[in-house]
Amino acid sequence: MKILNLCIGLLAAAAMMSCGDNTNKKSSAGGALNSSAAEKVYVAPGEQDEYYAFISGGYSGNLTVYGLPSGRLFKEIPVFSQFPTSGYGYSEETKPMLNTSHGFIPWGDSHHPDISQTEGVTDGRWVFINENNTPRIARIDLETFETVEIIEVPNSAGNHSSSFVTENTEYVVAGTRFSVPVPQQDISIKEYKGKFKGALSFIGVEKETGHMDIKFQLLMPGFNYDLSHPGRGDSHGWFFFTTYNTEEASTLLEVNASQNDKDFIAAVNWKKIEEYINNGGGKMMPSNYAHNVYDHNSHTATSTMKKEVRVIDPTEVPGAVYLLPTPKSPHGCDVSPDGKYIVGNGKLSANLTVHSFEKMQEAIKNEKFDGEAYGIPILSFEDVLAGQVEQAGLGPLHTEFDDKGNAYTTFFISSEVVKWKLGTWEVIDRKPTYYSVGHLTIAGGNSREPDGKYMFAMNKITKDRYLPTGPELEHSAQLYDISGEKMELLLDFPTHGEPHYAAAIKADKVAPNSKKFYKLSENTHPFAAKSEAETKVVREGNVVHVYMTTIRSHFSPDNIEGIKVGDKVYFHITNLEQDFDVPHGFAIIGQNNSELLIMPGQTKTSVWEPKQVGVWPFYCTDFCSALHQEMQGYIRVSPKDSDIELEWSLGEDVE
């Protein structure tokens, strides 16, 4: 067989070489256009993009998958919000994914996707993303591009300084933006100072399976923890969090939280805390939070309530936390690829502050402290400062890095991206964005090896960039070529929801592992019918289970009688197809939840509670085949007191 494969391989190589000739001809003919932006983003029909971009959907609660440089949308992955397109959060199997200690939450606010890493480099296995409103962290599997795990974060509120991973994905970190009483209690809001705490959660990620478990929560002073990033290289083992509202105000924060000349970057030595825990440190606090896991064999999620969490008082672990004064309510907290610099983007400051990890270590060694906050030592600003980018722009928010020692910072107020040099702190270039940029992304941005080919800026305001669509507009994004000295604007494309951060990765790290379909032989769903012979309808009181299958182009069974008003009918649909891209859909009149879109080899369940007597049709919603329109069936619903027996069939009336 190997030799045969080799022969086929040689044939394929020959075919590719002849294709290669064609391409060369094409590009030489277009030589005059080499510098055009259009050519740089043009991905010809049939060709594929070089990068995946995973762009958060903000208040859509989801994650969108784009191709770069084309800016084409490939998929919207449902994460924290119900998604009727596929039935996510509506099907019986996926409802547990959205379970929390507050009950079923149909919606979320997704913020900062980050790709798993091995040895400081993105490995393309998982994407983590945080939910801001009801604090949760999700893990998306990049073999299936599906959400496979969601863990709720207790003692947190406004899960914003999240979900960034350490360089071997030891942890995905989730910090609270709003400080709250820990544990929650009925006290006056005026008791904020001293009583409210900010929990920084370190969620361990199991190396092989990716399963998440909260290892510890650091209960910090009641500041607002805005963003964070891990150290890497020499600073691996540390995590850095920006803070604002160190004034600890609880009302009119836009004024009251903008009074201090400097807030802090909190530097957390998580390795030291690990040691402390391994020696029995910390205490278990009673708690209640959901851990939801989706299994790809049973195609089913389970939700477990966890009842305790380990909390750490930072003052009890000497050397674990230091505060680095940073001007004016810093927002983004970004660490250079070599781990030497920590950039604090002080959003109300004219200058950009860069701290030195080396100088921080030196100051700690010499115990040169400039006071303390709630027992946590504060280092002196001058002692840790590496440099400042002077008067770079207005309203700095976020910084990413390329592979040539440059940094790129977004400025919300002056609506631009500014390129500057690490070490010399000089501004090299600036380009406008359209308009009011928030985050920006460079592939491998939070890693040791960023890929300095493209950068894209995600804006908060769209205005006139596209054809108007009434008062509500999708947000705009701009793609820039950053391979040269000056940035070059290439493309403008709309994004879905409100993109906060995005994570991008070379396509060849992900695409080869993408699953084509689920193997029917591996399906362990308890209600799966793995062949038409296994289909059946079973009544248990007023609950009816329909074990149904789909294959081009029919349901089995497609005629069902003996259902009564008041029954609760579970349609368990198994797609028997074993080929790439042959989903079937299932919809029935009066479905109070959503359709199901079932991938080959998968089983999904929709519950239907008929309220009216009659004969009601169901059909396939996905144009699956030439006879898709024929893919339909009927279900007879009789009065509650009817004595009609259950009967089901396929093809019996055709002779």
Binding site: I3, L4, C7, I551, Q578, A626, L627
Partner: protein
């Protein structure tokens, strides 16, 4: 005669490769199947390019009322062919060894080749007859019924060798590695005969 006998042994032993490699390849090409769809024909049964190709080919064929692809239990050929090929290979190697020890003449090499060629032609004839049945013996209740230019039912018979457009697919048939080695082996036995003939004339 020594070199002729060794070539005879090698040539007939190449038949054993059919127990490892497939004889023939039938491929279905269509734009919707960028990864290809098709099967290898082994001596003892069919094998899809992937685990699911046979089932997917059957799935497509059900629209036009074709029979399901045969399993080894469905066709006597899949049980008989391994015996015939194995027997001929052993016989060929035996004749080669006998030649090596001058027990038989080069004419035996030709005799083996003639028998093998006759069997090969019979095999091809049988394979073609199956292709005709498979491509034309259709379910009268077929979902899609197509007629040719003369108004006769369209034949879905894949070609024995070469390409043929069948509705939206192009069917391509060609020898697989086992088939190629079989041909090379038979060619070698003919060369063995020629060398034997030449040395006998000296």
């Amino acid at each position: 005669m020594k070199s002729a006998s060794i070539i005879m042994i090698i040539g007939s032993a190449l038949l054993f490769s059919l127990f490892i490699y497939p004889l023939w390849t039938v491929e279905l090409e269509a734009p919707q199947y960028p990864d290809g769809l098709g099967m290898y024909i082994h001596l003892d049964g069919l094998q899809g390019f992937t685990e699911y190709d046979l089932q997917n080919i059957d799935g497509l064929n059900h629209y036009i009322g074709m029979q399901k692809l045969p399993t080894p239990a469905d066709m006597w050929e899949f049980r008989t062919f391994p015996l015939v090929v194995g027997g001929m290979a052993i016989l060929g190697v035996l004749i080669g060894f006998l030649g090596l020890f001058s027990k038989v003449s080069h004419k035996w090499f030709l005799g083996w080749l003639v028998v093998m060629t006759v069997l090969g032609i019979l095999g091809m004839y049988d394979f073609n007859a199956w292709l005709i049945d498979y491509g034309t013996n259709l379910d009268p209740k077929a979902i899609i019924k197509v007629v040719d230019a003369d108004g006769n039912p369209f034949s879905y018979k894949p070609p024995l060798l070469g390409r043929r457009d069948i509705l939206n697919f192009t069917a391509v048939s060609y020898p697989a590695l086992g088939g190629i080695l079989l041909t090379v082996g038979m060619l070698l036995t003919f060369i063995a005969y020629l060398i034997g003939l030449k040395s006998s004339k000296k």
